[in-house]
Assembly symmetry: C2
Homo-oligomer: 239 residues x 2
């Protein structure tokens, strides 16, 4: 009431996040970056000691990650970081393609194209910076930030919710197979073209580029696979 509006714009309760949420985020990051490799068993007692909390909040965080699909729970056995099989790479990108296509459509038709395009260009700038500094990890992070921003821009709560796990899984893929063998200029360029099509409102081009972007990624991460097929591919290494 007495406070003039515009001042103290971002005061928040001392602890706006629950303990479980903090733990979940830390674990998410650790899984995403590969600090907790796929297949790792997470002991509740051990983690509770490391985080200095009881097993209650920790279990809540774990359950959260389980329902997100990042952890797999075997009853009375333990919790394990999921390991991505080749079929999963296909599945992840097929799902991402569906989500991001919808997000792009809403961005295209939302009437805020220029604002969104500006937002996205900022993340591409981050990519360029990371590329010039030869920091592949930062490059991947910026790459994902682009797609996250696109989905956020769609304004759809549910697209955002569904994409969260997918993007983390994508990061896991990129971490596991760090040798992407793609020229960085090309990688930046694909995103730039995408923004341009969005800004111009060219639906056909934007959607086609997006599809190609996903297709490229799949073929790089899981050679011999194509999103155009309707099924998961045979395991390449075992033939």
């Amino acid at each position: 009431m007495a406070l003039p509006p515009g001042m103290l714009p971002e005061i928040e309760p001392v602890s706006r996040e629950s303990t479980a949420a903090v733990i979940a985020r830390q674990l998410r990051d650790a899984i995403m970056t590969g600090a907790l490799p796929p297949g790792t068993q997470l002991g509740e007692t051990e983690l509770a000691a490391r985080f200095q909390v009881s097993r209650g909040p920790l279990r809540e965080a774990m359950q959260h990650l389980v329902s997100e699909g990042l952890l797999r729970s075997e009853r009375h056995r333990g919790l394990f970081v999921i390991d991505l099989e080749p079929g999963d790479v296909y599945d992840i990108y097929a799902a991402r393609s569906a989500i991001e296509r919808a997000a792009m459509l809403r961005a295209l038709r939302g009437g805020d194209r220029d604002r969104i395009a500006d937002l996205l260009e900022r993340t591409v700038a981050e990519m360029a910076t990371a590329a010039s500094e030869d920091d592949p990890s930062a490059l991947s992070t910026a790459d994902l930030k682009f797609h996250e921003a696109l989905i956020n821009a769609s304004g759809s709560k549910r697209l955002v919710r569904m994409a969260r796990t997918l993007l983390i899984e994508t990061r896991m893929c990129l971490t596991a197979l760090q040798s992407t063998y793609q020229r960085v200029e090309e990688r930046v360029d694909e995103h730039t073209k995408l923004i341009q099509a969005l800004r111009e409102g060219d639906e056909e081009t934007a959607l086609t580029l997006l599809e190609a972007h996903m297709e490229d990624a799949v073929q790089r991460l899981a050679p011999g696979t194509s999103l155009k097929d309707g099924h998961a591919p045979p395991v390449p290494g075992n033939v």
Copy 2:
């Protein structure tokens, strides 16, 4: 080892589901069918008594539903069943459209079209039965089963996971606005045509029909809205 294969085909551990999972499923059903109307506050103590369990497993179930998006948690206040605003109807169907489009594509290209079509026809038969018995609740259930079957048939773990919440939310919409004002023959017919296009492998028709199916539903549940717009509509009642 000594057991002849084919006998005792489905023995399972006495309790293959965790307590939290059982509770979560019960609550899901209650929310879906409207037994727990949107906005209801769920007291942990009260529910724990009703389920005859401690607050621990119950909290886990709740957290699960929160991360699925069916419950909303206000710190130190309580847990509430989400209430769907008009914009949410739009959002749900836009997301469903994206997911089911992808599922349909994979079904179309998966090479198992006839088997999938047969599966789907079974659910349409259920719809017809429910329609002939004038049971709108069973009709809605069968309707959702069709879409669930379609998504399951896609074989994508992630599409299935993401669709679970969406279908429950859809059921909430249908329960809240039971007066759908759509002729049942029409409702059955739309699904039949969808199956036919799938069986024939006609991608263009199948996708168009699916889109129209979603568009129809949105316009019925949230009049004046269209999926073709890229944004949530203004609230109809307040203008």
